[in-house]
Amino acid sequence: MNAPARQSFAATFARAGMPLVLVVLFASCALGIDNFLSVANLRGLALAVSMTGMVACTMLFCLAAGDFDLSVGSVVAGAGVIAAVVMNRTGSVMAGVAAALGFGLVVGLINGLVVARLGINALITTLASMQVVRGLAFIVSGGSAVGIAAEPFFALGGGVLAGVPIPVWITALCFAVAGFTLNRTVLGRDTLAVGGNAEAARLAGINVTRVKVAIFAAQGMMAAFAGVVLASRVTSGQPNTSVGFELEVISACVLGGVSLSGGVARVSHVISGVLILGIVQNAMNLLNVPTFWQYVARGLILLAAVLIDRWNHSRRE
């Protein structure tokens, strides 16, 4: 009697846990913190999570395929710098955006090929590319922020549509596409199969290399796009931005129930993970929690997320 009841609780939690936590967290912040519900704060909150959200859309595929990508923070910075430099040189916004996205694609392809083709551990591969790309960002920018002159470009990050900032719309669109891709396309289901058991997937005739390369390429492009949006928002390309961003994105995904061992991911839960992290951050700011303590809190949340992942995993055994 006891055991089934507990199991069903665990199952319910696995199914609805994070959205539930999100609702409770949001309600308690709304009730307990002044200004939390103000339009300005909510808009700021949405804008703050939009970056994490965008990159989480591809990171969840990466994790679901049993891999990792630590290079996204550096790609955000590198893409922003490249967009700024190219725009200033050519005077063309399109050229700047295209160069940045192309850069992200190349980094993603290299990551993907090294991981999938050469069989190098994703952690090490992307740890290396993370540093290489960060270095390139500094080299291209000459070590300091590159201001952008092209004003029309600022609409991308700074514009507002129907009262909601453009980056938030973009993030919502990304999540919709990610959800569709994961659940309704062959690539999505193959991703889960590859993450769940790469060798079984290979022997079942799935092109594991192609799946992985596609995911890393998309991830690189998405991180670059996030970098472009950020550059537009801050009207410059900054080589030292988004340090530790990759951990934030991975935390959000893991908090959203994406298994670190691959094969399990739900987009709705990842959205919850992203929002939970954002709200906690926002609440700490509103409550004037010192920055140093915010690091501690974020680390503890990541640890909690990993423990939940582990717990879910052992429950499944």
Partner: protein, 511 residues
């Protein structure tokens, strides 16, 4: 050698299981198992995969605590809280995968956990002397300072035995100790085990190999589905009697072999070479034929199937399927040619455990049936899954259940079901019934026969002789990475096949 020869109390069994039960969530691995093992005897423990042998050994070794009943040593109830508790009570379980540290020396391994030391510094000289003495006791001439990782497997096993004796073990349990030994190494091991018996040790010996059991053991206990079936003197039983008690039914009823006409060319392999193959392999099998490939572990059977399927890259040779030459550079080429593989290790290579039965069934057909090659065809996938579940009688709560929650036999049926959506001409099965209960085995044999009746060429690799003899129309024997012989069903016997499969050390010596 402190306790190895401790005399037992006359009339009391050295080791007794009394009403031992073990329940894991949802599974009853052992149910009311009682039997005794006498000092100075070698006691066989037999049973099918999943019969509960390993669980029993783990209880004996202190790795599990029974949920019911008790274990008695010399009549005293013992409750081991861990492996070290079992060891200090004089019980050593020698598992298939040895618990030695490869990078450390033989001597260090022997005394691991209680190295002779002065003020915390290991006394190397003392260690070497002690180790040499221990090794001499089992008649092994191994330099104590050799790293264990450099020893051949057989010698590592000897080190493991010596290590057990170092701790004063007088009850030793062996779990399939000969599975990767040569014939000569087996003889050596047996003489050591007999020597241990003569010194009064009680020995529990787990093996699948009938020959060994009958050559070595005095008594036997047979388990089936976690229950005790019989404990008897081996002399009172025939081999067939043992097997029938293990499986719980008459042998002919399990396989139901039937003769079928060959209906044209199936698979033809010519001069295939690659990793794990020592001499170019050529053979052919007709459509509608079940070809059994027998061999010991390491004979290259699995490697051969993997090469044919393209799971590993071949370095030469040609394949023909149904008379047409095919190039296989990877699994996808094989699938296109109509070759499918049910791999040896279901968990590692067959299923995606965290996904549903439906997804596992549709794993390979998915892309082919997708709309525009990209969008999932959910209607087709659902219908296909329901159809296969019904057709193969896959026992699952629903198509959406995680495949890991299914029994081994049903997981295997899912893998088979996955291939039934393809245009199959050749089915390669690698140990298709390993770890599967008899009921599901019988169903899988029936599926194999049905495939053959439908004109599919079925190639099955197995190390279980009864299965090879029971289901194959024709048998190939592999040895040392090459095909050693081809045997017709009508003339095949267990002893004959085994003889062909064993390494021919003597022949090499005289050559």
């Amino acid at each position: 050698m402190s306790g190895a020869a401790t005399p037992s109390i006359p009339g009391v069994a050295a080791l007794a299981f009394a009403g031992v039960g073990m329940e894991f969530p949802g599974v009853r691995a052992l149910d009311d198992v009682s039997f005794e093992v006498r000092a100075g005897s070698i006691h066989a423990l037999m049973g099918e995969n999943g019969a509960g042998k390993s669980t029993l050994l783990k209880i004996l070794g202190g790795a599990h605590r029974p949920t019911a009943g008790e274990v008695r040593l010399d009549g005293r109830i013992v409750e081991f809280t861990g492996t070290s508790a079992a060891l200090s009570a004089g019980v050593a379980v020698i598992y298939q995968e040895l618990h030695l540290v490869p990078a450390m020396s033989v001597a260090e391994n022997l005394f691991l956990g209680h190295l002779p030391a002065r003020l915390g510094v290991v006394d190397r000289r003392q260690l070497a002397t002690d180790a040499r003495r221990q090794l001499e006791l089992i008649g092994e001439d191994i330099a104590p300072n050799t790293p264990v990782g450099e020893l051949p497997l057989a010698q590592r096993q000897m080190v493991e035995i010596a290590k057990a004796l170092t701790r004063g073990a007088r009850i030793l349990a062996f779990d399939e100790p000969t599975s990767s030994l040569s014939e000569r190494e087996v003889r050596r091991l047996f003489s050591i085990i007999r020597d241990l018996r003569a010194r009064g040790c009680a020995i529990l010996y787990v093996s699948h190999r009938m020959e060994e059991i009958f050559a070595l053991c005095d008594r036997i206990t047979i388990l089936r589905d976690g229950r005790h079936v019989e404990t008897a003197a081996l002399a009172s039983l025939t081999r067939d009697a043992v097997v029938e008690r293990m499986v719980g039914r008459r042998l002919a009823d399990i396989y139901r072999h039937e003769t079928r006409p060959a209906v044209g060319p199936g698979l033809a392999v010519e001069a295939l070479t690659g990793p794990g193959i020592s001499a170019p392999v050529s053979f052919s099998a007709s459509a509608g034929e079940i070809l059994g490939i027998f061999g010991l572990v390491g004979a290259g059977r699995t490697e051969l199937l993997r090469l044919i399927y393209g799971a590993a890259r071949s370095t030469g040779g040609t394949l023909h399927v149904a008379g047409n030459k095919v190039e296989v550079r990877g699994p996808r080429d094989a699938l296109r040619a109509g070759i499918v593989l049910c791999p040896e290790d279901r968990k590692k290579e067959g299923i995606v455990p965290v996904r549903s039965v439906l997804e596992n069934l549709n794993l390979s057909a998915r892309r082919r049936v997708a709309k525009g090659g990209m969008l999932i065809n959910e209607t087709w996938e659902r219908r296909n899954a329901e159809e296969r579940i019904g057709q193969l009688r896959i026992r699952t709560p629903s198509a959406r259940a995680l495949i890991r929650t299914l029994s081994g036999g049903n997981q295997q049926k899912v893998i088979l079901g996955r291939w039934l959506s393809e245009t199959v001409k050749v089915v390669l099965l690698d140990e298709p019934t390993r770890g599967i209960d008899v009921g599901a085995k019988s169903e899988i044999y029936a599926i194999m026969q049905q495939l053959a009746r439908d004109g599919v060429c079925v190639v099955m690799v197995s190390s279980e002789l009864p299965e090879i003899l029971g289901i194959s129309d024709r048998i190939l024997v592999m040895r040392g990475g090459a095909i050693a012989a081809e045997v017709a069903r009508s003339v095949a016997t267990e002893a004959g096949l085994l003889k062909l499969a064993l390494p021919v050390e003597n022949a090499v010596a005289t050559a």
